[in-house]
Symmetry: C2
Amino acid sequence: MHKIGIVGGGQLGRMMLQQAANYPIETYVLENDANAPAAHLCHHFHLGKITDYETVLAFGRKVDVITIEIENVSVEALFQLEKEGVTVIPKPSVLQTIKDKGLQKQFYESNQIASPEFLLLNNKEEVTANESFFPAAQKLRTGGYDGKGVHLLWNSEDLVEAFDAPSVLEKLVDIEKEIAVIVAKNESGDTAVYPPTEMVFDPDLNLVDYLLAPANISTELTETAKQLALKVCNAFNSPGIFAVEMFLNKQGELLVNETAPRVHNSGHQSIEGNYVSQFDMLLRVLQNLPLGSTETIKPALMLNILGEKNHSGNAVYEGLENILQLEGVSIHLYGKAQTKPGRKMGHVTVIGDNYRELLSKAAIVKTTLKVVAK
Amino acid sequence: MHKIGIVGGGQLGRMMLQQAANYPIETYVLENDANAPAAHLCHHFHLGKITDYETVLAFGRKVDVITIEIENVSVEALFQLEKEGVTVIPKPSVLQTIKDKGLQKQFYESNQIASPEFLLLNNKEEVTANESFFPAAQKLRTGGYDGKGVHLLWNSEDLVEAFDAPSVLEKLVDIEKEIAVIVAKNESGDTAVYPPTEMVFDPDLNLVDYLLAPANISTELTETAKQLALKVCNAFNSPGIFAVEMFLNKQGELLVNETAPRVHNSGHQSIEGNYVSQFDMLLRVLQNLPLGSTETIKPALMLNILGEKNHSGNAVYEGLENILQLEGVSIHLYGKAQTKPGRKMGHVTVIGDNYRELLSKAAIVKTTLKVVAK
């Protein structure tokens, strides 16, 4: 059997492994926590630090194909494994580019991929010197994750918060919508592009942080977004799955925000909503199998389940009984024993025949399901 | 976290565990083979014989709720666990009745559940004495499984094959169709009934052993079948999931053939075809959660993937590349390293908008995908 290794054992690995059991493969996971979400769902769990060169190297030597579920891993070890003949997906060079937001921006620029204007700065002094570039987002070049490592700088008063470290200063875009497009490419060079998904922020329903798929945009814009994502994927010139996040500005232009070279939060709804889920897709890529259909079965909405404010400790899921009664509502809890404010504890997907149905069910989920500590 | 134990580690356990990762539960599996299909997908794997009293007892004492994925387990141990306060689903009394096909037939009779006419016989001599009851199926009262332990007796010439052991002699039914209905009941007494599925034998397409859901029968018959299955479930008076197999005879009557008190081959297509799959449903039952919707998302066809004739040894899946290109086709391989003729190695589900589409794709799968030994 094909031996497939995943560096990282979080929820992305967990959902991959749920799907992996459908294929004739043997699975390996490397993670520094024996109770990680993915730890109990693989054939071989290896306890170790994913950022440690020797650890990742030794792990990778046990498998035929290795992939990642988080960018913050020892890329040097992946380069060495590639040299030794292990198939590394995505290529380590892609990870190296993406991990450094500065290199990532330069990559878009040199490949003529539209992206917000930017400056590369070395320290706080240089930020201060470029106040005329504001309003801007200052992003640490490395180490940022899930909203961390980013400051919005509107005017000189915000300078007190600026990072004194190598960073990207990115001009703020006047955003109409945020969308994401997932693209897959296998070693044979076949590509598959998912319908765009839309990140919706709806203050009226008090629903933030939910995602709609397919995005509620014109056919023309859909096609443009898919082509842009495919261009990004082809520029990276690597097998893998790529989640390309984009801004649609008020002028109707699409600008690439950033790319994740892996399964992504913006594709979770594909488990229920699409013929081939993003997790299934990655498994096909890892085996160099045909990619299948990215078509939508039914429109879907995805809501992250986050730990409640002011609650830290043993996670308890309140309201599960209520939402499980709703047709088309599926829950995915990530098996994290401990909750803390804002921690991603799971997600809920709603599928239905129209957006109105999705929204009304999502509103129930949002007000009913709570992760508290007890 | 709720601790849930599964006695048996085959493909049914495997598919349960793929779904179990969505819930806040800790999973335990007991099986006598460390490479069993379900062994690597649980939190705690216990190596041991599922028919052994002490083994099952010790295993069951570690969990809050225990269930089975095969009937041939130590029911005595489950009775003892029930006494000790472990929640056993289905109740051991149900297993005791169902494991003995004689008791199962008497159960249908005493609950006024229509079922083929039968005699209970002790030995071959009694079979010979009841030749006037032919054509009939002789079924061993205990130990039969997956078509084993059954002989068709058409006339006196077949007597040479008759079992010389306690058996049920069942009058052959003039079958129009074979259908199955899955019913679930939780501890609160909520019930949920799936649309009937139909086992189709199509000599023209050379497609045997495939299943269509929902069954291609009238609305009236659908309702009658669902009511009959619900009657069976209520008669058993136990939480659990029950697959009720029925014959539709040429007179248009439904007769219960037999019931499996567990997830079942006739419900596999529910993973893709229904809002709540049978595996999700059992997990809801085990947690006494609301059962949700059994409605169909799209019509589905399920095909078992059986080991090729004349092939025994290390399993290799030929033609996988071809069928993965088909939209709506999902594969589920069971992770069995060794194939042998007729062994259930996996299944394929096809979903689509109409039966014609399902049948044409199934024909491709049937002629393309082969499990051979290499």
